[in-house]
């Protein structure tokens, strides 16, 4: 047994990948989310938890460039210059969302083209990013189908012929094939059977680590948060009531609402 193998020097990146400052979104009088600020660093996985209506999906839509916040800014450092995503032109933002970002929707139908083959769904993202060589596109698509555990002989089938779990895995392949730096996921395991969830979670865990992705995951399932995330933000009534390292927040919750959430979980 050799002790203390010199660990590889961990490069602590000097700059966050995403800086969120005082983001708020209102629906008339009602608060969607209010005054949310945080930094996300390359390779970090942030979970946003809270019950239905707590504002976590609203916040995700603001962060992901889908829904413009009424106040605040979202700064992305993917290239040479930091980019305020809501001050650039619509076209520029869309290009960013296609190339540097990925969004995994809760319902795979929202992220897939249901009338296009599985291979086409994955290949389309590559073509969006400029790939033109048909053979290579198909080869990459096939590789990705296998990485998400879809048999290669299903490449020409349409997503509507797939089970819910397979559709979700296909959506993940479609998002990750373009090698995004940052991925947003909204309840990625929602609506799936528990056994199917376990497989998907393990797959996500491995992919996120192997690709060194930064990700923001919205979930109401604390077990999912514990398995996939490094950090946690707990939301209630549109505001962040507690945040920190995932195991700190779940094992030693300080806010009344977090204590309520963690004590409400049934252990099997």
């Amino acid at each position: 047994m050799t002790l203390h193998v010199p660990p590889p020097e961990t490069v602590l990146d000097p700059q966050p990948l995403l800086s969120v400052a005082k983001v708020s979104r209102f629906y008339g009088e009602r608060i969607g989310c209010a005054d949310v600020s945080f930094d996300l660093w390359p390779g970090e996985v942030l979970g946003i938890v809270g019950e239905s209506g707590s504002g976590k999906s609203t916040l995700l839509r603001c962060l992901a460039g889908i829904d413009k916040p009424d106040q605040g800014e979202v700064l992305f450092r993917g290239g040479a210059e930091p980019l305020d995503i809501y001050s650039v032109a619509e076209q520029e933002r869309r290009r960013l969302m296609r190339t540097a970002w990925g969004i995994v929707h809760q319902n795979p139908r929202d992220g897939l083209r249901m009338d296009v083959s599985a291979g086409g769904n994955v290949g389309e993202r590559l073509m969006d990013n400029g790939a033109r060589h048909y053979g290579r596109i198909r080869e990459t698509a096939l590789d990705w189908l296998q990485r998400v555990e879809i048999a290669g002989n299903r490449i020409d089938d349409r997503p509507r012929q797939f089970s819910g779990g397979m559709q979700q895995r296909l959506q993940i392949a479609r998002v990750l094939v373009s090698e995004p730096k940052l991925v947003f996921m909204d309840e990625p395991t929602g609506g799936l059977d528990v056994s199917v969830q376990a497989r998907l979670l393990d797959l996500l865990r491995v992919l996120v680590r192997d690709l060194g992705l930064a990700a923001i995951i919205v979930t109401h399932d604390l077990a999912v948060a514990r398995l996939l995330t490094d950090r946690l933000m707990v939301m209630k009534d549109g505001r962040v009531v507690e945040q920190g390292l995932t195991d700190q927040v779940l094992d030693d919750p300080h806010h009344a609402y977090t204590q309520l959430l963690t004590s409400a979980v049934l252990t099997v």
């Binding site: 203390h4 660990p7 865990r205 490094d230 700190q248």
Partner: protein, 232 residues
């Protein structure tokens, strides 16, 4: 000897907001240091806060006040005030936690669980697998189980997978909570030996052991935390 842990004025109190705001003081005015090559065994009656203290050292529980300097990459860093990614880096490279329980991940085999820390620290897959197999064999886990996910293993088998994972590449600091609770005498002795080896090679150990024989065999020093309880 190099100081690895320096605890200063740590206090912990739980506030249960949903049970009438009850405040549960655990301890206060905790001060001690642990050096490389030492094995500090925490003593005190059940409920005295030994596990809470261990979790605070790991950055899992947050103390109400005080600081904990962990020597990480040659310099002290306060794990209490460190940002999440720094805490994770400290855990990856410097600070290991050995609990009684294995957190089972669906579909991941025993061998993969054990070699994972080596891979995370940059070992080659071949070297990692080789060392993982050696460790599982030392802990007498039947070879037919190595490629299976431990969800269906017995408590003792899961515990040995967990210990193998922790000792396959001992961290400069090892925090150990009751590692031998459901092991037979033979495997208990293996664990005692693994702890001693890690310590002799320079790890700083802080542990809780209910079994008196294990405690005696492991400890180079005791810390009774009952006194800190009075200060809470």
């Amino acid at each position: 000897m190099t100081t690895m842990i320096h605890v200063e004025n740590v206090a912990k109190e739980f506030t249960l907001h949903n049970q009438g705001g009850v405040r549960l003081p655990v301890f206060g005015n905790v001060n001690f240091t642990v050096s490389a090559g030492e094995a500090l065994v925490l003593a005190g009656a059940s409920g005295a806060g030994k596990s809470s203290l261990l979790r605070i050292l790991y950055g899992n529980y947050r103390p109400t006040s005080g600081s904990i300097a962990i020597t990480h990459g040659g310099r002290p860093i306060d794990i209490v005030s460190a940002v999440p990614r720094t805490v994770l880096d400290i855990r990856r490279r410097t600070l290991g936690f050995v609990s009684q329980f294995l957190r089972v991940i669906p579909r991941v085999s025993a061998l993969d669980i054990v070699r994972d820390p080596l891979l995370a620290r940059g070992a080659s897959p071949e070297e990692a697998s080789e060392r993982a197999r050696t460790m599982l064999a030392r802990l007498n886990l039947p070879q037919r189980l190595w490629d299976l996910a431990p969800a269906t293993f017995s408590g003792g088998e899961q515990q040995r997978v967990n210990i193998a994972r922790s000792f396959v590449d001992p961290s400069p600091i090892m925090l150990i909570d009751e590692p031998t609770a459901s092991l037979d005498a033979n495997n208990r002795n293996v664990v005692v030996k693994l702890i001693a080896e890690a310590r002799e090679q320079g790890s700083a150990i802080v542990g809780i052991f209910h079994d008196e024989a294990v405690r005696e065999a492991v400890a180079t020093r005791y810390l009774d935390i009952t006194d800190f309880r009075k200060a809470a």
